[in-house]
């Protein structure tokens, strides 16, 4: 054997073994029982465009999270000032970064300012000013705290969504934060995407509010501390939507963050599903107080500003359990229980991208991609064999090696294969023989100059080397950029392309050369089949 052949053959062999080793889980339907421990178990990851599923990008309305915090601060201020006997006219959130306080006298206002400076160090107070004969000032949340709150809200939203999806039951979901306020959710192989989207996208702010029965819903002047909400019911048989308006107190008695559990139960009397909820001790206490004080009145159970039901309080309810009934199907009741258990989102989310691929199209794409790949291989193999005879076969061997290595590398790196990724592989079938074409054409030239096959071969590989490097590097530049900026399927294309190009350097320069070296090493070969 010529010098330096041994290690090259070993390297080629090792890479082949490694490729098949990593491809085993993909190629074998059931792994043998001894295949365990550190051995690779993952099949090649298929992108959502191939296996079907839903890809969502959600935008968290982080402004709303800050506003929510300020609303809580405003309520808290009311309680604090009331408990300290400091009289005020009104405390409200104004805009998205301020709480405004309006007081009766300058003296009280100054006391309040001092008190609040200590209690809320993160807020900037404006100087006192006159507001229609009253004394007023603003508390502005500082930018850093607001930013913090926004950042946390995205993190919380992500956790909540993960919770909901886990309870809904999707295998291998991917939930990631992207950029400042985006969350990417991937749900592979999901059967009922719309239901999952509804489940993920609901803010799920549960509130118990007193109904203001003294104001008719048709009234045009609703006081500032009340609001008009509607109960929407859909007739399951006709699909007709019925809306019942209620005027409710803006301030809620209890909110959903005081829940500990939510379960679906079936009403034995009407055979109608409802959601049974449990409060924590604080919630139970508040509920107990509120029901005791309001026997005979109605309260509304409100979720995301929709009234679910508005029952009359018949008696004081202690113990901390309540039930939400409404026109539920078993599915909608189960979904409501899930989102109540998982908790509310700290801010509303908006779906800004939704790509759903059905499983049939995915399978169709795989089949067609493989078919196209096979035809591509056959065409290239046939052409190369006819055009370069035995040498063409060597180039074909290099190309097959390229495909095997590439598939192995894709599974070893846990890269995701997408349809454009398959296209890149097919394209590489054509590109991978190109290096050999460049070399072969060089060899033909050298042979025409009257060189022996052996020296023509070496000259061919040497002189074509720089050209091959150039062509690979230019392709790598674009592949790297595509990887950096592409999303989903395009990224898959870039991964396959760049891996393939790197592997091709090895297969065309070492994988094929070894065979020529072996065939020609005696030096007395008179003719080359090229």
């Amino acid at each position: 054997m010529p010098k330096g052949t041994g290690w090259r053959i070993s390297l080629i062999g090792i890479f082949i073994l490694l490729s098949f080793f990593y491809l085993t889980p993909t190629l074998v339907t059931t792994l043998p029982s001894w295949w365990k421990g550190v051995l690779p178990k993952d099949k090649i990851h298929l992108g959502l465009d191939l296996q079907g599923g839903t890809y969502l990008v959600l935008e968290v309305d982080t402004e709303k999270a800050v506003e929510g915090t300020l609303d809580i601060v405003a309520t808290d201020l009311e309680d604090t000032l009331t408990s300290k006997d400091l009289h005020f006219k009104r405390i409200t959130r104004t805009g998205s970064d301020k709480v405004s306080l309006v007081l009766y006298e300058k003296g009280t206002a100054e006391t309040v300012q001092k008190l609040l400076k200590d209690k809320y160090p993160g807020y900037e107070q404006s100087p006192l000013h006159d507001d229609g004969g009253f004394v007023a000032f603003d508390m502005k949340i500082n930018d850093k705290d607001a930013q913090d709150r926004k950042d946390k809200s995205v993190q919380q939203a992500l956790e909540t969504i993960r919770n909901r999806i886990d309870q809904f039951g999707v295998s291998e979901p991917v939930i990631q934060r992207e950029g400042i306020n985006h969350i990417v959710v991937q749900l592979p192989g999901i059967k009922d995407p719309q239901r999952a989207i509804d489940l993920i996208g609901k803010t799920a702010r549960l509130e118990f509010k007193m109904v203001r029965e003294d104001i008719p819903p048709t009234s045009t002047s609703i006081p500032e501390d009340a609001e008009l909400l509607k109960e929407r019911t859909v007739d399951p048989t006709t699909g007709a939507v019925n809306e019942v308006p209620y005027v409710v107190q803006k301030k809620s008695l209890i909110t959903g963050d005081l829940l500990t559990d939510a379960q679906v139960r079936i009403d034995s009397q009407f055979n109608q599903p409802y959601v049974a909820i449990e409060f924590n001790s604080l919630g139970a206490k508040l509920f107990d107080q509120a029901t005791a004080a309001n026997v005979g009145k109605r309260f509304a159970i409100v979720l995301d500003n929709n009234v679910y039901s508005a029952p009359v309080i018949r008696e004081r309810i202690s113990g901390g359990s309540a039930q939400i009934s409404g026109s539920f199907t078993e599915k909608t009741a189960a979904d409501l229980a899930i989102i109540l258990r998982a908790g509310a989102l700290p801010a509303p989310v908006k779906i800004i991208q939704n790509v759903t691929v059905g499983p049939s199209l995915g399978q169709d794409s795989i089949n067609k991609g493989l078919y196209a790949g096979l035809i591509g291989i056959l065409l290239v193999v046939a052409f190369m064999t006819i055009y370069y005879k035995l040498s063409g076969l060597v180039a074909n061997w290099g190309m097959v090696l390229n495909v095997v290595y590439l598939m192995g590398a894709l599974s070893a790196l846990g890269a995701t294969l997408t349809l454009p990724g398959i296209a890149a592989i097919v394209l590489l079938i054509g590109m991978s023989v190109d290096s050999n074409v460049l070399i072969f054409e060089r060899i033909r030239e050298e042979l025409k100059l009257g060189k022996t096959p052996k020296s023509a071969l070496d000259a061919g590989y040497d002189k074509a080397f720089m050209t091959i490097m150039d062509s690979h590097i230019t392709t790598l530049i674009t592949a790297a950029v595509l990887f950096q900026f592409g999303t989903g399927p395009v990224k898959g294309f870039a991964v396959s392309l760049s891996l393939g190009v790197i592997i091709n350097l090895f297969t065309s320069l070492i994988g094929t050369k070894v065979i020529f070296d072996l065939a020609l090493h005696k030096g007395n070969v008179k003719k080359m089949s090229i």
Partner: protein, 306 residues
């Protein structure tokens, strides 16, 4: 086997014809890009925002009937396209309709369920893209195009001298413009996959150019007596068969994707096919003549000095 024996074609001499042809193509390409920038071309919803749906019906459905059904249910601004194989229908709804994101897909499905009770369908894919995502993708893509072109130019400038760099860059730009021109004239959809194809070809077309340039440079060093156009012609003729063969193998692979790869990457592989053809043409008829002109000009200057 040999496709071409020894050839002796005067490629450089045909530069007037090729320059006129390429200029026309490039101008159409530029018009296409301007129209795209103005939002006046067939933009994919990944750039423009909107909704697209691919439905598979149990029975053939005339496109006019589908359109009428949508009209009747208040979806007037929809772009319908039939995929012959397997009774498939592609529906594209612009972001500018009254339907908000997330509603359009449901509205279309409701309309078809109501109107074609005897022709069931399944949703093969649905894509909804909000305008903010479309904007982001458009910006990212623009950055990607600029960076990769810049990267290629820098590499070529480093590997070859300045004149070759200009020739290679102009030829690559020409190829990209040609792909835009074809897609614009044929009113095919400009989407993310198309841009991917353009960038891939930008990389690939350079390969072809580099093969030719390498030989030209080699011959320039060897043979200083002959005239510039002669050296260039000789070099191109010498590497002509490898230029054709390397392009042909990639062409075979792209063609099998085009004919057998399925509808999702049909346009993508079409773009690749165009790109491979144009890329081969440009390395011979655009890149090389440009370098000849630049070299001649440099020589003339030197002569004037001496």
């Amino acid at each position: 086997m040999e496709l071409l024996g020894k050839t002796n074609i005067d490629f450089i001499g045909k530069r007037n014809i090729s320059f006129v042809l390429s200029s026309i193509i490039a101008i159409i390409g530029i018009i296409g890009i301007i129209q795209i920038a103005r939002g006046d071309a067939n933009m994919g919803i990944d750039f423009s925002g909107g909704t697209s749906l691919q439905l598979k019906f149990a029975k053939p459905l005339p496109i006019a009937d589908a359109r009428a059904a949508l009209h009747k249910n208040g979806i007037a601004k929809a772009d319908l396209q039939e995929i012959k194989e397997g009774n498939k229908l592609l529906i594209k709804i612009d972001k500018n309709t009254s339907l908000s994101l997330g509603k359009a897909s449901v509205a279309v499905q409701t309309a078809f369920t109501k109107e074609f009770t005897d022709n069931a369908f399944t949703v093969e894919s649905s894509t909804e893209i909000g305008p903010s995502i479309g904007d982001k993708l458009r910006k990212d893509t623009l950055v990607a195009v600029v960076i990769s072109l810049l990267g290629i130019i820098l590499y070529i400038a480093w590997r070859f001298d300045f004149k070759f760099g200009i020739g290679a860059t102009l030829a690559t730009l020409h190829d990209c413009l040609a792909m835009f021109a074809v897609f614009y004239v044929m009113n095919k959809e400009i989407n993310l996959l198309f841009v991917t194809a353009v960038l891939t070809i930008a990389g690939y077309s350079l390969t072809d150019t580099v093969v030719v340039f390498d030989r030209i440079r080699e011959n320039l060093h060897k043979n200083l007596k002959s005239s510039m156009p002669n050296i260039f012609n000789l070099s191109i003729n010498e590497v002509l068969s490898r230029t054709i063969v390397t392009s042909f193998t990639v062409f075979l692979a792209s063609a099998s994707l085009f004919f057998f790869g399925g509808e999702v990457i049909h346009d993508f592989s079409f773009a690749l096919l165009i790109g491979v053809l144009v890329g081969t043409y440009s390395s011979v008829f655009v890149a090389s003549p440009i370098v000849v002109i630049l070299e001649n000009r440099a020589l003339a200057k030197q002569g004037a000095k001496a």
